[in-house]
Symmetry: C2
C-alpha cells in the first residue's frame, strides 16, 4: 500500500469549475504504481482488504447500519465499464453486490420519470451497488441525440443533484467515475473487437454512428461533469487508456471509501454464554 | 480434471424413490479429489473454464439464445449456502450472476402466491441465477412451523414441479443442491459463531429453536426431495461437512452443466470488413 495523498483527492474533479476534458491525458497514471506489473500486483493485494471491509459493511447492516456504496461508471463505448465490474467488483462477495447495466429505457420505463428505474436498482444497506451506465445517460445520449427537449435536459442536471444529495443523506456514499479514454484508444479497441472472432459479439454497427458523435459526447460529458460535481457526490476522472491503471485506481477509490466508512462487526445483541449453554444442554 | 463418471450422476437423487437422509454420510466426498489440498487446487483450476463458459453463455444470449442456469441452494442453518455463493459464484463475472437470498416473506410478498416473489428473481437469458434458499422454504419451514394448512402444503409440491418444468421448457437449466450436514457439524459451526467475535453477527438465538426442530426439518426435507425430484429438475445431495468438498462439488456440477450446454460465441450479424473500412475511413 502506498503512503501518499488519497487517490480520491487526486482524481476528484473540482466542484464549480468548468471541465475541459482535453486538459486530461487519458494515458496518464496519476498516483499509480510505476508499472503495469506493479499495478496488477497492488490491485491483487487490495483484494483481501476490500473483501474484508465489504463483509464488515454487510455485517454492520444486519444490526441497523444503513450505510452502503454506489459506484457509478460512465464513459464512452469501450472505456472499460464492463471490464471494471469483472475485475474490480470480482474482489467482493457477489452476494453483497447489486450490479445493474442500464440499457436504453424499456417501454415501461419510459412511462415514468427518468429517475424511476434508477431508484429501483439502488443498493440496500450494507451492499455495494454498481451502475454500468446510469441516470447520466439521460443527460448524455439524451442530449446528443435530442431524445428530450432542451429545457427538460437542463432541469435534469438539477434533479440529478437533488437525487444524489438525498442518497448521501440516506447513507449512500456515491462514487462517480468517468472512464476517460482517447479517441485513438477507442479506435484500437473497436478494431480489436472486429478482428477477434470471440469479441465480435461485443460490436455493433451502431458503435460507428456513436463514435462519429465523439465531439458532441465529449461536450455533453463536460457539461454533466461540470453541473453534477457536488460536494456530496463528486465526479472522479479516471484515465482509462491503461486497463491495469483503471482497475488499480477504482479498486483504490473503493478501498479509500471503505476505510473511511470503517464499518464494524456488530456486537452480539444476545447473551453469548447463555446461548452457548443452551446449545450444549440440548445435546445431553 | 478427472476422467470419471459425471459428478451429477453420482450426486443426483433417484427420481420416484423415497429419500432417507440418514443413509447419506454428510462427511463423505463422493467422486472428489482425495484430499483437501487436491480439492482446493482442483476448484481453483476450474475457475478459468467456468468463467470462460459463462462469458460464452452471456454472449450467446445477446444473439437470442435463451438458455440460462438456476442454482438452487437449500440446507439447514450453517450448511454453507452463503459460503457457496462466496467461493463458487466468485469464479464468475458478477455482472452475469443474479443472486437472491430469500428471507421470510414480506407483507407485500404474502399477498401473492408463494411463487410470485420467486418468479421475479429468476435469471434472464445468459445469466446464472443463484437462490440462497428458495420456494422450497414454503414446503420446509412452512410445514415444520405449520405456516400454511396441510392441504396447501401438499398442493405446493405439485405446483413446484409444474413451475420448474415450465422453467426448463423456457431454457432454464435448474440445478438443485441440498447441502447435507450432520447435526454434530451444525453444533460445531454454531459454537464457532458464538466463540468468534467477528462471527457473532451471523448467529441469532432463533437458531437454537430451529435446531431443536432438526428431526422435523429432516423429515420435511425428505418429503420435498422425494416429491420434487423430477427428470426435468432433479435434486443433488451434496455432502457438506467438508467445506472444500462442497465447493469443489458445486463448482464441478456447474462445470458439467455448462459444458453440456456448450454455449457458443455468436457469429457477427454484420459485415466485419465493411465495418472495419468504415471505422478507418472516418479517421482520414
Amino acid at each position: 500500500m502506498h503512503d501518499q495523498a488519497p487517490l480520491g483527492d487526486l482524481l476528484r474533479l473540482p466542484v464549480g469549475k468548468p471541465v475541459d476534458l482535453s486538459a486530461y491525458d487519458s494515458g496518464a497514471t496519476p498516483g499509480g504504481p510505476g508499472s503495469k506489473a506493479a499495478g496488477l500486483a497492488d490491485t491483487a493485494r487490495m483484494g483481501k482488504e476490500l473483501a474484508g471491509l465489504q463483509e464488515r459493511l454487510w455485517a454492520a447492516a444486519t444490526a441497523g447500519d444503513r450505510r452502503r456504496i454506489l459506484l457509478v461508471l460512465q464513459g464512452m463505448d469501450t472505456s472499460g465499464k464492463g471490464g471494471t465490474v469483472k475485475h474490480v467488483i470480482g474482489h467482493f462477495n457477489p452476494a453483497g453486490c447489486r450490479i445493474h447495466a442500464f440499457k436504453s429505457p424499456t417501454r415501461e420505463e419510459r412511462q415514468y420519470d427518468f429517475l424511476w428505474r434508477v431508484a429501483k436498482e439502488l443498493p440496500r444497506p450494507g451492499e455495494i451497488g454498481i451502475f454500468d451506465r446510469s441516470h447520466y445517460e439521460d443527460v448524455l445520449i439524451a442530449k446528443v441525440r435530442s431524445l428530450a427537449p432542451v429545457g427538460e435536459i437542463k432541469s435534469r442536471y438539477v434533479r440529478i443533484n437533488g437525487f444524489e444529495t438525498s442518497l448521501t443523506g440516506n447513507g449512500v456514499t456515491v462514487i462517480k467515475c468517468f472512464l476517460h479514454i482517447s479517441r485513438d484508444e477507442q479506435l484500437r479497441r473497436l478494431l480489436k473487437r472486429l478482428d477477434t472472432p470471440h469479441k465480435r459479439w461485443k460490436f455493433s454497427p451502431g458503435d460507428i454512428d456513436e463514435r462519429a458523435l465523439w465531439p458532441a459526447y465529449q461536450g455533453a460529458y463536460e457539461t454533466a461533469l461540470t453541473r453534477c460535481a457536488t460536494p456530496a457526490a463528486p465526479w472522479h476522472l479516471v484515465p482509462a487508456d491503461h486497463k491495469w491503471y483503471r482497475n488499480w485506481a477504482i479498486s483504490r477509490l473503493l478501498l479509500e471509501c471503505l476505510r473511511e466508512l470503517d464499518p464494524q462487526y456488530p456486537a452480539a445483541d444476545y447473551d453469548v454464554q447463555e446461548c452457548r449453554a443452551l446449545l450444549l444442554a440440548e445435546e445431553g
